[in-house]
Symmetry: C2
Subunit: 153 residues, 2 copies
Amino acid sequence: MEDTAMTDTVTVGQDEALIRELVDARAAALRAGDPAALVATYTKGAVLYTLAPPLGSVGADEDGYRHWFGTFEGQVDYEVRNLEVEVSGDLGFCHSLNRLSATPLGMAEGFDLWFRATLGVRKVDGSWLVAHEHTSTPFYMDGSFKAAVDLKP
Amino acid sequence: MEDTAMTDTVTVGQDEALIRELVDARAAALRAGDPAALVATYTKGAVLYTLAPPLGSVGADEDGYRHWFGTFEGQVDYEVRNLEVEVSGDLGFCHSLNRLSATPLGMAEGFDLWFRATLGVRKVDGSWLVAHEHTSTPFYMDGSFKAAVDLKP
């Protein structure tokens, strides 16, 4: 029993490391402005709840990312903080507070946006992929309904 | 091998059913305005990304829910749509589009708010609990930074 438990722990540790590598690879793809590398981290039917409308969509859109990268001066910066990973077998989820820093085309100044990111991940043919992504800011319930884009972790 | 695979499928099916019961129980607690029943569905150290600021917090707050229920006329209504559940061993995640309908105290009219909900769930001593919750609306990236509280699934 003890041996089994130890083996399980090692396996979980390895898979947690692989999921952290997936998160790192996604941040690197964002910093590099590489839509193909980003889209390659998703399962085909991934359910996406993104920062911008709609409420939800299915499947990562390479052209959409390409267009989005093109709306900024140069490259974006991306940071992942407070990443916590849970894993069991071929399934896991993780959450973190992420920073996107970028300068919209034609703007004199850039922005730093901190938001929450949750990923549901699945191991497919030995590789961890994003089966579900949920990114958001909260919003102010003071009657303004403004997105809380000024928060810091 | 076939027997093992069948057993696994049955187990996953049972756990998926239990996670769906957890989601139902949470909706029932919200409709009943029962903060204790709601808080009982979380692990102690659950990481929460809620509709309102802050970005994140740890542990469900019974007094906070009690206060929140008290800001509405009568009881709230709550609906869970498009629920999808993934489970492996003692871990799972699920996502859905949820509707909260309520009338704030002193307001003539109520609101219907559709938002995205992701739960990371963990089986603790045989019971499925919420280890991570992420609820949000997207926001309009048209310069207004308004929360998109008018979307429907």
